[in-house]
Amino acid sequence: MSRNVLVLADLRNGGLRNVTFEALSAAKKLAEGGSVYAAILTGSGAAAHADALAQYGAQKVFVVENAALENYVPDAYAKALEAVINESKANVVFLAHSAIGRDLAPKLAARFGAGAVSDIIGVEVDGGNLTFTRPIYAGKAFTKNVVEGDLVFATVRPNNLEKSEPEAGKTAEVVNVSVELPADSLRTFIKEVVKKSTGGVDLSEAKIIVSGGRGVKSADGFKPLQELADVLGAAVGASRGACDADYCDYALQIGQTGKVVTPDLYIACGISGAIQHLAGMSNSKVIVAINKDPEAPIFKVADYGIVGDLFDIVPLLTEELKKALA
């Protein structure tokens, strides 16, 4: 059964996130003779991204450029994506499971009276139907879900769907969609955006995460972890214990409350490994644990463990990696 699959480009700080390419790669497999489209909703600068979207499989790129889309405002984004869905006759709409996508998908699904599946880590065609795999209980278990109807929304977890090779030189037709978004039709407005994300590496998309727990002992204690992260191009995360103790911002929290992450490499420093934390990271591909307590549950999920003081081990590791990666 052929279907048109539309992928909403996920932009952060002006750049396309990898999850957009991962979703396009999946879309190519699902279209079965239908079309693969991408949508860009933004204040300005959409044209810069069209080629990259084409190279990962978008046959057409629908663009809504409007000053009201400079920041994420649910009413504005919903109206813009609604117009693109209608114009493209999409049957499946993929969004990133991000600050924007996880908010926008249910809003539009409700508007269209459609079903939706959130935070998918896999999708396959099974006898004409799409089957979506997603975590429940933050990854303690998984379900395979089917959704009825000729329009389905899905949000995609970064780092899980396989990204195909881009086809160099490929371009796509750009379709400009114009949408009226007068300020008085938007019921929320952004007064200010405070950029707090540190170091620039995005926790949910990071290939490597260096994470600290109570063993880090203070806000200052995160410094050696940040230095290690800098050498690896990694993001810094934390356990609930570290956040509750005010060593770091809740935005860094990984676990059943907090973010669920699946990087290639997760380095847990001074984290004991409470079940809530394990739920948020144990599906990482390779796990390294550094902890003083040999009995810490984190060692049960770690591929490589070092029993020792993180304040001795982490700086040594940073130096060794500097040499190895030089």
Partner: protein, 254 residues
């Protein structure tokens, strides 16, 4: 102010998940008020104490879910509504439509919910509800200020902070960091246990009998068990050198 909280009962986050006969086993599991919904209940009570009015907590869920309502009552909510008709349980599409039926003849200034439930983790139902009620929403808030009908909220947008303005009526979904939920007092618990719950049926709510879930679960499974790995031996220098070597050549993640 008419303040409502839509909440859910979930597994305690300490619980291990056991899959039996194709679904998650509930026997012997400790259930709690969804941790994110605790922030919503706490914020609702604070708003009422500051601005006056009433806090009503609502859930759609099986019989056992009344315990979550009683927790909210014990914390200080005034009224509780338990939509427990089995014909009304289902996916986010269905439950949000059931809730919308409940709210359609209610006067409300603000609806608060958790930003997601720790079981399904979808975060769909609240946003869908706002859309169905044709009101604005602000999700994952870490601060809320109300002045007359003007609202300013802080929204956690993947670590960045958005200061968002809106007007009542409004729906907000609550994020960790918004407040420190209180523990119910003994007197609160005693009073909550005696409080009658409102239990409207599908007919009372005027839910369309044809309302059915769109999404369904075909299969539930556990991740492959992870075996404990290797504990490295030697002095610190040796172990760190070995680790880098393993990450580079065995795990190939560098």
């Amino acid at each position: 102010m008419n303040i409502f909280v839509a909440l859910k009962q979930t597994f305690d986050t300490e619980e291990k998940i056991v899959v039996e006969n194709g679904s998650v086993k509930e026997d012997g599991v400790r259930f709690v008020l969804n941790p994110y919904d605790e922030y919503a209940v706490e914020e609702a009570i604070k708003l009422r104490d500051e601005l006056g009015g009433q806090v009503t907590v609502v859930t759609v869920g099986p019989e056992r879910a009344q315990e979550a309502l009683r927790t909210a009552l014990a914390m200080g909510a005034d009224e509780a509504v338990h939509i427990t008709d089995e014909a009304l349980l289902g996916d986010e599409y269905k439950v949000s439509n059931v809730l919308a039926s409940y709210f359609k003849d209610k006067e409300f200034d603000i609806i608060l919910t958790g930003n997601q439930a720790v079981d399904s983790g979808s975060g769909q139902t609240a946003v869908r509800l706002a859309e169905l009620l044709n009101i604005a929403h602000i999700s994952t808030i870490t601060k809320l200020e109300i002045n007359g009908t003007d609202v300013v909220a802080h929204r956690d947008a993947e670590g960045d902070l958005e200061v968002v303005g809106a007007k009542l009526p409004l729906l907000v979904t609550c994020q960790q960091g918004l407040n420190d939920p209180r523990y119910p007092s003994l007197i609160g618990i005693r009073k909550a246990n005696k409080k009658p719950l409102e239990t409207p049926s599908a007919g009372d709510l005027g839910v369309d009998a044809s309302l059915a879930s769109k999404a369904s679960v075909k299969e539930t499974f556990l991740p492959a068990a992870k075996s404990a790995g290797r504990i490295l031996e030697g002095d610190n220098g040796q172990r760190v050198t070995e680790l880098v070597n393993l990450l580079k050549n065995e795990a190939k993640v560098l």
